[in-house]
Symmetry: C2
């Protein structure tokens, strides 16, 4: 009969998608300008001009070549371009053989976990975290172990991670700039984490990979974003162009197995095997070639920065508590009652669509995606005021 585990996964309510769908229906009902939809992380900044031009260049080529199969790890020229970019931008050695082009960060993480873990292993995620980390860890037969971030700074809590590491720990997933909090992990935090993992590897005689999920690398507001492979040897980067080049629905990203790992080639072979097992023939060829020429394109984060300012200033004035974000385009706001799901429901009465923190493995907060038109943020302020007043009454 059918697979019950898959049925349950398919039937599981997804709060982000539910709110997104509710928003679509509500907008049709009362007008898009009257719904304050902070639910989903779909970039509101269009793809840079260079990306749009490159689509035209690729499509002007011989159509047989333009849409052909590439080798599964990616077009040779594309892999070379990504390796060159990593080497030039971050000053570490990088070879095309350790770059595997993927259908976005989702497949990158799923493939990587299948490659570097074995059934029964444990994978650590720092809560709050992107909910699919659990799905993908479990797909590899692993258990996801949640370790709360530091309650004040939302940096990794090194002592808590140390307490969570067991002989079964095969990977720690980090995500900086962070979804959902917007935190950027400091160099000091990452160095402390690297020190801990090295120490535990030696102490336990095991290997612990650091999986660095980096879709928001270029969406940052001035903070340094250290390159993780330079700080910890057993690092695998899962990158996506979804946010930096505003191509979320096109599904294009890559896995980079650090060349500083002595057996990198062996790991890259396992990555290729996992990609095969999970049904990936190659990443979309048109997208592969478009992004390969746009690796140095800096996204225009000014609109997000403006949105961040307007939103945080407005909410501060109203007395909301939030975590000041240094990157990504999410704001983590304290719910006005302990039950974030109830708070999110009540916010809907004011046409405010806020994702409850329960989806991210945390209680008592909501996530606001501020990659939306600026005027929606401006026009949402009276609604936030009314929501606050409803609780103050």
């Amino acid at each position: 009969m059918i697979n019950e585990r898959m049925y349950e996964l398919g039937a599981e309510p997804n709060k982000i998608r539910e709110l997104f769908a509710f928003g679509l229906a509500r907008k049709a009902e009362i007008g898009a300008e009257n719904v304050f939809d902070f639910s989903i992380g779909n970039p509101s900044v269009p793809a840079p001009a260079q990306v749009q031009e490159q689509f035209q260049k690729e499509l002007a080529k011989d159509p047989v070549k333009a849409h052909e199969y590439t080798p599964s790890p990616g077009d040779a020229i594309v892999r070379q371009a990504i390796a060159d970019h990593i080497r030039d931008a971050f000053g570490i050695p990088a070879t095309p053989g350790n770059v595997y082009v993927t259908s976005g960060a989702s497949s990158a993480i799923d493939i990587t976990l299948a490659a570097i873990t074995n059934p029964g292993d444990e994978v650590i995620a720092i809560a709050p975290y992107f909910p699919e980390y659990r799905t993908w860890s479990e797909n590899a037969g692993c258990t996801l172990v949640e370790v709360p971030a530091d309650a004040e700074t939302f940096q990794p809590d090194i002592a808590a991670i140390e307490a969570a590491i067991t002989p079964k720990t095969s990977a720690v997933i980090i995500n900086s700039p962070n979804n959902p909090v917007g935190t950027v992990y400091t160099r000091a935090s990452l160095e402390a984490l690297a020190d801990l993992l090295r120490r535990k590897e030696e102490e336990l005689g095991t290997r612990i990979f650091l999986l660095s999920d980096e879709p928001y690398r270029e969406i940052a507001y001035g903070m340094e974003i250290p390159y993780v492979p330079a700080l910890y040897q057993d690092t695998i980067v899962c990158y996506s162009f979804s946010k930096s080049l505003s191509l979320p629905g096109e599904r294009i990203g890559y896995i980079y197995v650090s060349d500083l790992i002595p057996d990198a080639a062996r790991i890259s072979t396992a990555v290729a095997g996992a990609g095969r097992a999970l049904g990936y023939i190659c990443a979309p060829v048109l997208l592969q070639r478009v992004v390969a020429t746009c690796l140095d394109v800096e996204p225009d984060v000014t609109p997000y920065e403006e949105n961040r300012r307007i939103l945080t200033e407005g909410l501060a004035q109203l007395g909301y508590e939030y975590v000041e974000p240094d990157g990504a385009f999410y704001l983590w706001v304290r719910a006005l009652e302990p039950d974030a799901v109830a708070f999110s429901e009540r916010a809907k009465d004011f046409e405010l669509l806020l994702v409850p923190s329960d989806s991210f493995g945390a209680q008592g907060w909501v996530r606001l995606s501020y990659c939306i038109p600026r005027n929606i943020i401006e026009r949402s302020m009276p609604a936030f005021a009314a929501l606050k007043a409803a609780y103050d009454d």
Copy 2:
């Protein structure tokens, strides 16, 4: 430590890819016109004009909308268009809720197997078969059971399939028009298979799905291609636009869970769960929308038909034995010695790149992909003559 199963999969030699890579190197050495590369199934007919125009139309839209996330099962308009197309073209009920848009047939099959089987189940494939059926069955924890096709007709051998069915059989994969043989399954064959499966379902009290892998549906030379869901209730179609619209590297296809299945909605939910588990967020949005407007575009199979004629007439004249193909763009030719791998190696001396049948679960044959420029086929004839002469000496 890393996952050895994935490492083995990544390290496993892939004869098609190896020959393809050898061909690339050899062409660089002696000129593309002097290598007779029959290794890979990359369509040589360009994408139809309507497809190329639709890319332009989609890219002319608001870029934020053009590249946005879609729901995981696909854009609502795209799913509706595909359901309408199935209903109109094949005269069976079809609803968008049972269409799940995928990154090609590869992900469609991998996702479907994960959704409809449980670890320990058996999946039957009719040999010779596409080699990844084994990989994807094993990814779902199943055993692939090979059942040879009828030795004369290459139609399904109903008695042999009956003998292979056990209480653990959860799916039978069929592929018509067939890769690698080019056979089209007749209505009589499919009806006999459907009768058998219904009888075994009743006898064993189990459920046996028919997974119909249909990338070559439109690549056929006059034979009727019956629509499998109309013949057997528990059918799931895995379709790809790779060959029909010449978009192999773009990765776009769909799963259609037959609406004639009483619990189709439940199966579609499991499909959605399996897609999630395997790391698919959505199929590439640009491609989703391009193909949705090109569902009625008929591919121009004339060049393939011409190639088929030239190749079969030429080889017949030289005394080669082959299976007359009714569809797809492959020719199944008897090797001139029992060891097809040795024969393929010897053919390389004559610049002929032919894939040995061992890759497809069969001995003593080679597969020739004739989706290549016509003049290469014409110019390969002296090489085939010399290869034959080498064996006749």
